[in-house]
């Protein structure tokens, strides 16, 4: 699907100025990235001081608010309320979704029944359904779990399905030639071959689930970190509001990047595809 953050040495790529060329490529890219972060923060600071808008806090104000919320436990309390339903929801979809995807991959009947449905769920703006959840699950824990499940299921199911279907035919034929039973084929060849994509699906599902939790908090349940955003906006405390948003971006990127690294180590791609 999407590329990793690193571009391979691009063919015919432009060369960096003399001074930079002296450093190793890896160090150079880290340096440039750090520089870009500082640049963005500087622009942010500037924008807040002009000010671009009364509702736009400078970076320093946001950072101060961030620090304050970290220290006084606001973040802790809010994230506790968000992460709980998120983990429960992803655990549910993880188990059920992977099972469903694997089943669809192995059984033509299950594939026939399930594939169109999940493709539609993946493409449709399921977010529209979130406000409806209150009618059944109220405004608490269960409602958030449902939102998480709603948004994360399609990607987990489809990735598991694709992982199974992408097992190289030659490996399956080989296992048939050496007289593998159906179970042996599934356990020893198909599932190991699919494990990389299954894990990738779980990672993407976690990201989608987080979106679902935030959406639920913005629309229906007045708890958690999404609610921090709504609350501070209503109080016109924009520095705290931006701090909350920043925390969400940080938590999401750090977690997903760590999971990507884990994926690289556990499911080394060169070990999966021949």
């Amino acid at each position: 699907m999407t590329g990793s953050g690193l571009a391979a040495p691009a063919s015919g790529a432009a060369r960096a100025p003399g001074a930079l060329r002296a450093i190793s490529p890896a160090a150079r890219s880290s340096l440039l990235r750090a520089a870009s972060i500082l640049g963005i923060l500087a622009l942010w600071e500037l924008g807040g001081r002009i000010p671009v808008s009364l509702t736009f806090p400078s970076f320093s104000a946001t950072a101060a608010a961030f620090g304050g919320m970290l220290v006084d436990g606001t973040f802790l309390g809010a994230y506790a309320e968000t992460v709980g339903p998120l983990l429960v929801g992803v655990a549910l979809t993880g188990l059920g979704g992977v099972a469903a995807g694997v089943l669809m991959g192995l059984s033509p009947r299950a594939e026939w029944l399930g594939l169109p449905v999940f493709v539609i769920l993946q493409a449709a703006p399921a977010a529209a359904i979130v406000p409806l959840i209150t009618f059944i699950y109220g405004i608490g824990f269960a409602a958030k779990v449902f939102a998480v499940v709603l948004l994360s299921t399609p990607v987990i199911v489809l990735n598991s399905y694709r992982g199974i279907r992408n097992t190289p035919v030659s490996l399956i034929e080989m296992s048939e030639a050496f007289l593998a039973s159906r179970w042996q084929r599934i356990w020893k060849v198909i599932l190991p071959a699919a494990s990389g994509l299954i894990f990738a699906g779980l990672r993407l599902g976690l990201a989608q689930g987080f979106t679902g939790a935030i959406l639920a908090e913005l629309l229906i349940t007045p708890t958690g970190v999404g609610d921090l955003i709504t609350f501070y906006r209503s109080q016109a405390e924009y520095d705290h509001m931006y701090a909350s948003i920043l925390s969400i971006i940080l938590v999401a990127s750090v977690t997903i990047t760590l999971l990507q690294r884990l994926e690289q180590v556990m499911f080394r791609p060169e070990l999966r595809s021949p």
Binding site: T2, A7, G12, L32, A127, A128, V130, I245
Partner: protein, 250 residues
């Protein structure tokens, strides 16, 4: 799958699900789920209503402008990222950060900054779709084989010719894949944006139908929006299949 030896197309399984929907609706098991036939009828009435026309207008405007911007900047950035290593490292980092973050959280800030109208919606569509377009373009561009470029240079191609005659075409399948995904995310973006803004467009309509328990109309609207997103993405997918062989590496 096959029944009695003849292949049954997968789309037909939807009929099974629709039948299930009808049964659940008729039995009134869940009040949120009316009979499917009611929903079908409602599609007609919703699509022809004035409210829908107005909502669709503003939604399509926001979607069109936002996607246009996302395509321009996304493909452009993707090219830069693929051809110049420095840009690839830096912009790639940002794109990956935003691509996996719940961008929904940014929308309230946009609303405070830009108000409750078209600008916020356009920015939301842009932010939801641009990252995947840029990243997929980058992948497509970096996967152009070295030998193809060397061949072009050996025949005296200028930089511009290399870009337009070789790189663009060889990367095209991947770029189209990014556009297809970007379209779907753009639709999600415009819907989420409008749900949060709540007083305009399709989002407002959704909110109105659910508030008044007009469930058949609600599902009808959801089906219409999905149909639009699906039609757009399948159109791109059609072209993607047609040019898939542009990316053969040997």
């Amino acid at each position: 799958m096959t029944i009695a030896g003849r292949r049954v197309p997968m789309a037909l399984s939807l009929l099974v699900w629709f039948a299930l929907w009808e049964v659940i609706g008729r039995a009134e098991l869940v009040f949120l789920i009316p009979p499917f036939t009611d929903v079908l009828v409602a599609i007609g009435s919703v699509a022809t209503s004035e409210r829908f026309a107005g909502a669709a207008m503003i939604t399509l405007q926001a979607f069109g402008i936002g996607m246009g911007l996302a395509l321009t900047f996304g493909i452009g950035a993707g090219f830069l990222m693929g051809r110049v290593r420095a840009f690839g490292d830096v912009l790639g980092m940002w794109a990956n950060i935003f691509e996996s973050s719940p961008l929904t959280a940014i929308v309230p800030a946009m609303m405070a900054l830009l108000g409750f109208g078209l600008p916020t919606m356009i920015v939301t569509v842009f932010l939801f779709s641009v990252w995947v377009i840029a990243l997929d373009t980058q992948v497509g561009v970096t996967h152009v084989t070295q030998s193809l470029l060397e061949m072009g240079r050996s025949f005296g191609a200028s930089r511009r010719q290399l870009l337009l005659k070789i790189v663009l075409l060889a990367a095209l399948p991947e770029i189209l894949a990014g556009i297809r995904l970007g379209l779907i995310r753009g639709v999600k973006g415009v819907v989420i944006g409008q749900l949060l803004i709540a007083i305009v467009g399709i989002g407002y309509l959704f909110e109105r139908y659910s508030r008044n328990f007009l469930m058949a109309e609600f599902w009808a609207l959801l089906i219409i929006v999905f149909a639009f997103a699906y039609a757009a993405s399948e159109t791109v997918a059609y072209f993607e299949r047609k040019v898939a062989f542009y990316a053969t590496t040997r």
